[in-house]
Amino acid sequence: MVKSTSKDAQDLFRSLHSAYSATPTNLKVIDLYVVFAVFTALIQVAYMALVGSFPFNSFLSGVLSCIGTAVLAVCLRIQVNKENKEFKDLAPERAFADFVLCNLVLHLVIINFLG
């Protein structure tokens, strides 16, 4: 039983891996960026757990910048993905321009809130 479940897990992982390598490169770049942003947010949460939440506004600002930019990157990925029927009429340049503008507003807000 154990051997079969571990073999199943390995098979599952291999099939996921092969499916993922079929995705286009630009989507993989977006995924990498999202992972980087979430990772940065997790580091900040771990730091706050250690030293306490003293300048709470700075903590929120830092976490929001990471999570906000991750969310915007996910939106970009949805809009740019060719397999997505919902957005097939939307030009990918328009999606990218939205992404850039929203990020600019996000970073303006967090610098203001950073103190």
């Binding site: 490169t25 630009n26 770049v29 977006i30 960026y33 980087f36 942003a37 940065t40 947010a41 580091i43 900040q44 730091y47 030293v51 003293f54 300048p55 700075s58 903590f59 600002s61 830092g62 910048s65 990471c66 930019t69 990157a73 990218f96 992404f99 850039v100 990020n103 970073h107 967090i110 610098i111 950073l114 103190g115």
Partner: protein
């Protein structure tokens, strides 16, 4: 002729303020002393004491206690700076003097030496009670000590006392080796009164009773509770010495040898003269009189006194204290003067360090509390005048542009925000130009 006398009168009128010399803030030693005697032969029997006073520059005015022209004040001005009452049996003073006018005299800051003796009158007892000292109610009682009497005496009423208060200010720097001879009445001090002090106490074996009659009940005043000589320093720094024996000041006991019973030490001369001389120096403000300048405070690095401090400021505080040496103001040297930074309770209490020239200084950080504070120096040392100085100063919190610009604990968050921005910039380049 008329013109000459008129001009002389006019000139003396102008000079009058300069001719009078009394004690003042700049020169606190008393000058003019009224001596009330009930028996004018005391002038000769206590001549050594009076002559030492005169040699130190005092103007002694000897008057009989029932002289009808006695007056302490004239037209609202006091005529004397000190009063010595050697009139234990006087029932009523003459002239305008009574126990109330003596109490007013002390209230005005002037000094008093009061001596009772056997058969002390109610008037003298009343004046002593005003100063916080209670004589034995039995008017025929004397202090008797069967183990601490002077060997030359027969009936154990001449006490050889050596239980002196330990104070260099009151009794002088040199130790009084020989015992002090005393024959008189006992008094006790109210234990709740913190202005009176026993200078010469009786030994634990002393008691107060009539020496000629048998004791019918245990004596009320016994042991070390009996005080032979006490002093009182009032809150306005007037000093009073109350003694239970007039013979303590007499020439006979000054010259007499002293040997305490049960002790092998025989002294050629009793300690009376040294004791009385040092005590008179203290009571007439020749010693132990302090004067303080104003409190000076400023921020570290500045010289002006600011109108308001901010929390966590560093400040320096100093005060100048001088001691009167009998002739001039000398710097006061001590290591126990303290300053409080006080608002309802002292937030900071520091001992001031001295530069040996009379300047006491310290520096500290203003506490992290805002409000209206006071610098307080409350100095009450045994035998010295009390110093009670205070200066008010407000303390404000930080203005909103006085906080630190970047908080060190938030540096990771600052770093994360800028890293994310850099990451976004790099990502958009890579996304646009990858192949």
């Amino acid at each position: 002729m008329m013109n000459l006398s008129r001009s002389v009168a006019l000139i003396s009128l102008f000079l009058l303020p300069f001719l009078s010399s009394s004690f003042s803030v700049d020169n606190p030693t008393d000058r003019r002393v009224l001596v009330l005697l009930d028996d004018l032969s005391l002038k000769s029997s206590h001549s050594t004491f009076f002559n030492t006073l005169k040699s130190r520059g005092f103007d002694l005015d000897f008057k009989s206690a029932d002289d009808s022209k006695l007056a302490l004040q004239r037209y609202g001005q006091y005529l004397y700076d000190g009063l010595i009452i050697f009139a234990p049996s006087t029932e009523r003073f003459g002239g305008s003097l009574d126990s109330k006018s003596v109490a007013d005299f002390v209230d005005s800051g002037r000094d008093l030496i009061l001596s009772a003796d056997t058969s002390a009158s109610d008037l003298i007892r009343g004046i002593a009670t005003e100063c916080g000292v209670d004589f034995d109610e039995d008017s025929s009682a004397m202090v008797i000590d069967h183990s601490s009497f002077s060997v030359s005496d027969g009936d154990h009423t001449l006490i050889a006392a050596d239980d002196l208060v330990k104070s260099d200010v009151i009794l002088g720097k040199s130790k009084i080796e020989a015992p002090v001879l005393f024959r008189g009445v006992a008094h006790s001090l109210n234990p709740t009164n913190n202005l009176v002090l026993k200078v010469l106490s009786a030994s634990p074996s002393a008691y107060s009773a009539n020496p000629t009659s048998k004791l019918s009940s245990p004596p009320q005043l016994t042991g070390s509770a009996i005080s032979l000589v006490s002093v009182m320093q009032a809150r306005n720094n007037a000093r009073v010495v109350i003694s239970g024996s007039l013979q303590l000041f007499s020439d006979r006991l000054f010259r007499s040898g002293a040997q305490k019973s049960g002790s092998p030490d025989k002294y050629e001369k009793s300690g009376n003269e040294q004791f009385v001389t040092e005590l008179s120096k203290w009571v007439f403000h020749e010693r132990g009189h302090l004067k303080a300048g104003s409190l000076v405070h400023h921020r570290v690095g500045e010289t002006d006194e600011p109108a308001i401090y901010r929390i966590k400021d560093d400040l320096e505080f100093s005060v100048e204290i001088l001691e009167w040496s009998g002739k001039s103001w000398e710097p006061y040297v001590a290591d126990d003067v303290q300053v409080q930074f006080y608002m309802m309770s002292p937030y900071v209490l520091k001992t001031l360090s001295t530069d040996k020239k009379g300047l006491f200084h310290t520096s500290f950080k203003v506490p992290d509390v805002y409000g209206v504070f006071q610098f307080k120096v409350e100095y009450e040392k045994l035998g010295y005048t009390t110093l009670s100085l205070s200066k008010q100063i407000p303390v404000r919190p930080y203005r909103h542009n006085e906080y630190e610009r970047f908080i060190p604990t938030a540096y990771p968050y600052y770093g994360a925000c800028f890293t994310t921005m850099a990451g976004f910039f790099v990502f958009s380049f890579v996304y646009l130009y990858h192949k």
